[in-house]
Symmetry: C2
């Protein structure tokens, strides 16, 4: 009974999304609250287009959400996402013999 909120396919999408240095940096930057793209752009020193691509990937994986406020769009983490990943790893690890 390996119950989990997400399907295996969805979890792989999440894993692929997390398995990237720049996207991990984004996640780390969002750890202490929401950020607009321009802030992330400065923090990561990445081009606007590239950053938008990575944010899209994270969004499609269900890891972040966005909110528009005037001209700015603020991105923030969805706490459950990483929790589901943790739970999945815990279940996988539980299958080990010792």
């Amino acid at each position: 009974m390996t119950s989990s909120t997400r399907s295996l396919d969805e979890l792989i999408v999440v894993l692929k999304a997390v398995a990237d240095e720049k996207r991990l940096s984004i996640i780390a930057s969002l750890g202490d609250g929401e950020r607009c793209v321009c802030e992330l752009q400065q923090r990561l020193g990445a081009g606007q287009s590239l950053l938008s691509f990575h944010l899209r990937t994270l969004k499609e994986a269900g890891l972040v959400s966005d909110r528009r406020e005037g001209r700015w769009i603020y991105y923030s983490l969805i706490p459950e996402a990483l929790g589901d990943l943790e739970a999945f790893l815990r279940e996988t690890r539980a299958g080990e013999t010792r």
Copy 2:
């Protein structure tokens, strides 16, 4: 103080290794003990060459170890690896505001 056993680069290698359906199947199959390649080959229904490639990826990521016994090579999980990943996610998630 984000202490962790592995560097960020190493963790990304582990994440990339785990972010694949067939490699996850291998990990699941190794969950209840070591298996030779021929056993995994039957379980996954994968070609010998392909399976060898995935096992190499997992090995280079530090997720599995191999042991030769006669003509057979037995692969088994390295428990710490997934634990480190869990710890990393826990630390990352701990940075969230709530």
